[in-house]
């Protein structure tokens, strides 16, 4: 049978990410997929070599818009462990609070995009309406909607007042109530299930061998959540990673939706346990040595490898983002699936190409 090659992306109606795939097709079935990236490579890793280590927080935040807060968190944690800085407890809790807000807004964004990918416009708007509340909290507490620049080496740059904490707690409760209704559409709707159940199955063994990260791995039954290592204040909070066994697109949706509830729960715990005190410690001297710092982002684990030489600038700042780890899994899932499922499949890895290329 003859084979056809269909180019998919980098401009595609359902996918806002500049990912190009060459799909080798046999009728409607994909036989092979070759990815091509490189449309948004900005050389940020190179740029960090010319900036001071304190300025780099702002550079790494711009690796990715959606998980900007966690990029800065991972970087600051790395530098702090190099310089043996113990940050105040309140800063740890504030970092977790903002990180979890980021996770909520990232997952809600993704759920909306998924609904949009299989053509459920109204669901998409319902989800994004809730996301807007989170964005408003972000703007009110941190000053910006997306790139919130709250983390700095030695603590956080802003504090949250007691009234604001109460307000956040009320708003996340509202989001929880609203999501309960939307949840039914994702979990039980016949059409939605038809598009997701059994599509792009990734077995536990494959997921492990392909080095997947985050919700992708957890949907395939791998208990891999870096928050379990207890960085920042996670060690003092009570949570259990959400794991599904099926490894299909439906399982990945369920994991992400349940993680929104988990994040809401973590935020409420954070607010309840928030200690009083300073939010930042002064930083003196320059970092020296090398360190690996890992943080759980909405999309999975991010790895920062830092090498400093005792001067103001770093020798090397290397970022391994979760999408980078999930693309091999995508290549594994695509062969054998239908052309119509490709947008959903690509979306379920929650791709962030600007993360991948940096």
């Amino acid at each position: 049978m003859s084979k056809t090659v269909i180019p998919f992306g980098p401009q595609h109606p359902v996918l806002p990410e500049p990912l190009h795939l060459k799909l080798v097709m046999q009728d409607e079935i994909i036989v092979d997929a070759i990815p091509a990236i490189g449309y948004v490579h900005r050389g940020l890793e190179k740029l960090t070599e010319t900036k001071e280590f304190t300025q780099n927080t702002f550079v790494v935040e711009r690796v990715c818009g959606i998980c900007s807060c966690m990029h800065a968190l991972a970087y600051c944690q790395g530098i702090e462990s190099l310089m043996n800085i113990e940050i105040p407890d309140r800063a740890k809790y504030l970092r977790v609070l903002w990180a979890e807000l980021h996770r909520i807004h990232s997952h809600l964004l993704w759920l909306g995009l998924l609904a949009d990918a299989f053509g459920f416009e109204s669901l998409f708007m319902q989800v994004w309406r809730n996301r807007e509340k989170v964005m408003d909290i972000m703007e009110e507490t941190a000053g910006s909607r997306v790139i919130i620049s709250v983390n700095t080496v030695g603590g956080t740059r802003r504090d949250i007042s007691k009234e604001m904490l109460t307000k956040i707690s009320v708003i996340v409760d509202e989001i929880k109530e609203d999501l309960k209704q939307v949840e039914a559409a994702f979990f039980n709707d016949y059409t939605v299930k038809h598009r997701l159940v059994g599509v792009g199955v990734l077995t536990k063994e494959d997921a492990y061998a392909l080095g997947t990260a985050g919700p992708m791995a957890r949907a395939s039954g791998i208990k891999q959540d870096l928050r379990m290592t207890g960085y920042s204040a996670y060690g003092e909070l009570d949570f259990e990673p959400i794991i599904e066994q099926d490894g299909d697109s439906y399982a990945r949706t369920v994991v992400r939706l349940k993680e929104v509830y988990q994040s809401i729960n973590l935020i409420k715990q954070c607010i309840a346990k928030m200690p009083e005190g300073e939010i930042v410690v002064p930083v003196k001297g320059n970092p020296n040595g090398e360190v690996v710092s890992r943080v759980e982002q909405p999309r999975g684990e991010v790895l920062y490898y830092l090498r400093a030489n005792g001067s103001k600038t770093l020798d090397r700042l290397r970022i391994r983002t979760p999408t980078f780890a999930n693309i091999p899994a995508l290549l594994h899932m695509l062969p054998g699936s239908q052309l119509a499922d490709v947008p959903v499949l690509i979306l379920t890895i929650d791709p962030c190409i600007s993360c991948t290329e940096r």
Partner: protein
């Protein structure tokens, strides 16, 4: 300092990686640091139950480095990246983009490597 870091030679890389695979470690990524004329430091990161292990080796200028993508398929992206950005000669990558994964034709070669950059004007470019 990084815990669980083992320094190895290039010739040991494939056997050590195979051992990692056998011990059920997950490949996380590889990092590369340019040392100028001395070549590059390459560090392979592995993970098992949230515990990390690292293999560190030094690649001299022009030396060949075997690819681990036959053992861990997911290493292909990062190896292509290292080949492109640092100019390390990595052989036998499962899918070799030939230096065009991130960069296009017009860009500088191996931009992350610390080296003297000379811009040669191409003939007929004007």
């Amino acid at each position: 300092m990084i815990e669980n870091m083992t320094e190895i030679a290039i010739s040991q890389l494939l056997s050590e990686t195979q051992k990692m695979k056998y011990e059920d470690y997950r490949f996380v990524t590889a990092s590369c640091v340019s040392l100028g004329d001395d070549g590059c430091d390459v560090i392979y990161h592995f993970d098992k139950d949230l515990e990390m292990k690292h293999l560190k080796l030094r690649v001299g200028k022009g030396e060949e480095l075997p690819s681990v993508s036959k053992i861990y398929f997911c290493a292909l992206l990062v190896e292509n990246e290292m080949k492109e950005l640092f100019g390390i000669n990595i052989t036998d990558i499962a899918v070799d983009y030939g230096g065009h994964m991130l960069l296009s034709d017009e860009e500088l070669e191996s931009p992350m490597a610390k080296q003297q950059i000379t811009i040669v004007e191409k003939k007929g470019a004007k």
